[in-house]
C-alpha cells in the first residue's frame, strides 16, 4: 500500500515536471517562431523594396521563377534580373553575415564571461583593417611584383589572412602564458593597439583616394553581396555558424568558471581553441568581404539573453536568426534612405545599436540598484 502511494506521488511529481518542462519549452518554441516570422517578414520587405520599385507579385515570381505564376505576376526581364542578380544574393549575404557576427559575438561573450566581449577583442577586425589598408595603399606595387595578385579578390584575401594572423597570434601568445581568459583579453588589447598603430602608419602614407577607399571600407558595406562572393564566403561563414552551437554545453559550463568547467569534463583550453578558430574564420570572412560592421555581434546576444536567458544551447541559434534579420533590416535602410546613393551599413548598425546599447546599460544599472 505504502509503496503504491509513493509511486503515485512520484508519478504526480514527474507529471508536474513534464508540465513545467513543456511550458518552458513552449516559451522557447514561441520565441523561435516569432524570430522566424520576423526574419521572413524582413526578407520579403527587403526583396520588395529598393530604389527600383517592383510590385510584390513580381518579386515573388522572380524569386521562385520555376513555379508557373499567372501572366500578370511575371516581372519584366530587367526587373527579374534586378531581383535575381542584385537583391537576392545581397539579402542572403546580409542574413549570413548578420547570423555569423551575432553567433560569434555570443560565443565570445560566453568564452570571456564578459558581456562586453566581441570578436574585435581577438584582433580579428584590427588585423583585417591593417591588411586591408596595406593592400589598398601598396597593392598596386605588390601586384606588379606578383601578377597573380592582380585580382578583384586580393583585398578580401589580404583582409582574411590579416584577421587570421592577428587572432591566431593573440591566442598563441596568450596560450604560452597559461590558459587564463584574462591574459587572452589583455593580449587581444595589446595586439589591437599594435595593428591600430601600424594601420595609422600606412594611412599616413596613403594618398587622398586611398584614404577615402579605406575610410569607406571601415564603414562596411554589403555591396559585395553577389552570387560569386556568396559562393566564396558561404562555406566558411555558414559552416562556422552551424558548428558553433555544438559547443554550447561547454560554454554553459564555462559560465561557472574555468575550474568548474574542468570538473564538469570540459577542457577550457580546448574549448578556447575551438571557439577562437571558429570565430576568427567566420568574422574574418565577413570582414574581408563586407568591411567592418559593428554592434551586431555585441547587441544581438544581449537582446536574446534578455528574452530567453543565458543558456547557450538556445541562445546561439536564436542569435543567428535575430542577427540575420537585424542586418537585413539595416541594409534595407542603407540602400533606401539616400537612394540612388547608399549609406555605409556600419554607420547604420552603430548609430542604431549605440543608443540601444546605452538604454540597455542604464536598464541594467537601474536593476542592480534596486
Amino acid at each position: 500500500m505504502s509503496s503504491s502511494a509513493k509511486s503515485s506521488a512520484e508519478l504526480v511529481q514527474s507529471f508536474d515536471n513534464t508540465i513545467n518542462f513543456d511550458a518552458e519549452q513552449l516559451k522557447f518554441v514561441m520565441f523561435y517562431i516569432v524570430l522566424l516570422l520576423a526574419l521572413l517578414t524582413v526578407l520579403l520587405l527587403y526583396l520588395g523594396n529598393g530604389p527600383i520599385p517592383i510590385p510584390a507579385t513580381q518579386v515573388i515570381s522572380s524569386v521562385l521563377p520555376f513555379i508557373p505564376w499567372p501572366v500578370d505576376w511575371q516581372a519584366s526581364a530587367g526587373d527579374a534580373a534586378v531581383i535575381q542578380t542584385i537583391r537576392l544574393p545581397r539579402a542572403l549575404m546580409a542574413l549570413m553575415v548578420g547570423a555569423g557576427l551575432a553567433v560569434s559575438g555570443a560565443a565570445m561573450q560566453g568564452l570571456f564571461r564578459n558581456p562586453l566581449a566581441d570578436p574585435g577583442l581577438l584582433g580579428v577586425s584590427g588585423g583585417a583593417a591593417l591588411a586591408a589598408v596595406a593592400w589598398i595603399v601598396f597593392g598596386g606595387s605588390i601586384a606588379q611584383v606578383i601578377p597573380l595578385l592582380q585580382h578583384q579578390y586580393s583585398l578580401a584575401l589580404f583582409a582574411f589572412v590579416g584577421s587570421a594572423v592577428a587572432s591566431l597570434s593573440v591566442f598563441y601568445i596568450a596560450d604560452r602564458q597559461g590558459s587564463s581568459v584574462a591574459i587572452l583579453l589583455l593580449t587581444g588589447i595589446a595586439i589591437n593597439a599594435i595593428t591600430g598603430a601600424l594601420t595609422g602608419l600606412i594611412v599616413y602614407a596613403a594618398d587622398d583616394s586611398q584614404l577615402r577607399s579605406f575610410t569607406f571600407w571601415t564603414m562596411g558595406s554589403l555591396a559585395n553581396g553577389s552570387w560569386e562572393n556568396l559562393r566564396l564566403t558561404a562555406p566558411v561563414i555558414l559552416c562556422t555558424t552551424i558548428i558553433c552551437p555544438f559547443f554550447a554545453k561547454g560554454l554553459n559550463a564555462l559560465l561557472l568558471g574555468e575550474a568548474e568547467a574542468q570538473h564538469l569534463g570540459f577542457s577550457p583550453r580546448q574549448l578556447k581553441i575551438q571557439i577562437i578558430v571558429l570565430v576568427s574564420l567566420s568574422v574574418g570572412a565577413a570582414v574581408a568581404f563586407c568591411g567592418m560592421i559593428g554592434f551586431v555581434g555585441l547587441v544581438v546576444p544581449h537582446l536574446v539573453r534578455l528574452a530567453i536567458g543565458p543558456d547557450h544551447t538556445k541562445l546561439l541559434p536564436a542569435c543567428a536568426l535575430l542577427g540575420g534579420s537585424l542586418l537585413l533590416l539595416a541594409d534595407l535602410l542603407a540602400r533606401s534612405i539616400v537612394a540612388p546613393a547608399e549609406l555605409p551599413i556600419g554607420l547604420l548598425t552603430a548609430s542604431l545599436g549605440g543608443p540601444f546599447f546605452l538604454w540597455l546599460i542604464s536598464r541594467q544599472v537601474g536593476r542592480s540598484l534596486q
Binding site: P51, V82, T85, I86, A223, V338, A339, P340, A341, E342
Partner: protein, 290 residues
C-alpha cells in the same frame, strides 16, 4: 536594354512631346561618375542627357541639383539602375567592382576613362566623352580649343627666369598644414604653371609638414585651398601658421587662395586654372604677353 524599361521610356518621350522638347529616338540617359567628366558633358552642352552624378561633380553648380549616386568608390548597383541609365561615364576610380559587374551584367553601356594629371589626359577625356555622346564634332572643337588655350598659357611662362618655388596647402588642421607632394593634382598644376614644388620629390600625396621643413623648403609662393584659407581667417591666419611668416612667401605676402574645384579638376577649365596660377607666380611685366 531599351526593351528593359521600354514602358518608362515611352512615358518620357510623351513628356518631351508635351513640353515641346525635341524628342529623339536615341535619347540617352547618362550618369557621370566623376567631376571632370560632368564638366565635359556640360561643356559639350549635353547636360540635358544627365540623370545622375557622383559627389565629386560640384561644377557647374547646377550639377549638384541632379540625383546623387554617392561617392564614386562606394556606388550602389540598384541605386544607379533605378535612374534607368543608358550610358555611364566613369573613370578608373569607380567602384566597388561587384557593383560595376552587376551593372554590366544588366547590359548598361559604360565607358571607363583613365584619369591622369596631364593636359593629354584632359584632351583624351573630352574626345572619349564626346564620342560616347555622339558629339564628335563638338568634341573635336572643344578639344582643339582646350589644347590651344593650354598652349597659349604655357607660352606665357618666361624661360629666362628661375622657376619660383611653390607650395600648395590643401588643409590646415592641427596647425601643421597638409602640403602637396609628388603625384598630386596640385603638384601637376604647379609644374604646368611654371613653378617648382620643393616637396615634389620628397613624398607623395598630401602630408602634414612642420614649421622647420616649411622654412627649409623656402617657398616663394603659397597657394591655399579656398576652404582652408577662409577657415583660418584669410591671409593673417595663414601667416600665423608655424613657419609660414619666416618663408619668402610669408615675408612678401605672396599667399593666395585658390578654388580647388577649378585648380584640381583636370577638365576643360584647366587652361583657365593654369592662367590664374601663372598670374601669381610671375609678376605681369615678366610674363610674355598673350
Amino acid at each position: 536594354m531599351s526593351s528593359l524599361f521600354s514602358h518608362k521610356f515611352s512615358s518620357i518621350a510623351l513628356l518631351c512631346l508635351v513640353f515641346g522638347a525635341t524628342p529623339s529616338l536615341a535619347q540617352e540617359r547618362v550618369i557621370s561618375l566623376n567631376g571632370s567628366l560632368t564638366e565635359i558633358v556640360y561643356a559639350l552642352k549635353q547636360e540635358s542627357l544627365l540623370v545622375g552624378v557622383d559627389t565629386t561633380s560640384q561644377f557647374p553648380p547646377e550639377a549638384t541639383e541632379l540625383s546623387s549616386v554617392g561617392y564614386q568608390r562606394a556606388l550602389s548597383a540598384e541605386g544607379i539602375l533605378s535612374l534607368q541609365p543608358t550610358l555611364i561615364l566613369s573613370t578608373n576610380h569607380a567602384g566597388p567592382e561587384t557593383a560595376l559587374q552587376q551593372i554590366n551584367s544588366l547590359g548598361v553601356e559604360r565607358i571607363t576613362l583613365q584619369e591622369q594629371y596631364s593636359i593629354e589626359s584632359v584632351i583624351e577625356k573630352i574626345q572619349d566623352v564626346a564620342e560616347a555622346l555622339q558629339q564628335d564634332e563638338a568634341g573635336q572643337a572643344l578639344a582643339k580649343q582646350t589644347l590651344q588655350d593650354f598652349k597659349q598659357v604655357q607660352a606665357r611662362i618666361p624661360s629666362d627666369t628661375a622657376k619660383p618655388r611653390v607650395l600648395f596647402f590643401l588643409g590646415t588642421g592641427n596647425a601643421s598644414p597638409s602640403v602637396a607632394g609628388g603625384n598630386t593634382a596640385a603638384a601637376a598644376m604647379i609644374e604646368l604653371a611654371g613653378g617648382d614644388n620643393p616637396f615634389g620629390n620628397q613624398f607623395e600625396g598630401y602630408k602634414a609638414v612642420n614649421a622647420e621643413s616649411m622654412i627649409a623648403a623656402a617657398p616663394d609662393v603659397l597657394f591655399v585651398s579656398s576652404r582652408s584659407f577662409d577657415s583660418v581667417g584669410g591671409l593673417s591666419g595663414v601667416l600665423s601658421l608655424p613657419g609660414v611668416a619666416a618663408t619668402p612667401a610669408g615675408q612678401n605676402k605672396r599667399i593666395y587662395s585658390v578654388d580647388t574645384l577649378l585648380t584640381l579638376g583636370f577638365g576643360p577649365r584647366t587652361p583657365l586654372a593654369i592662367a590664374s596660377l601663372l598670374e601669381h607666380l610671375y609678376p605681369p611685366e615678366k610674363t610674355i604677353a598673350p
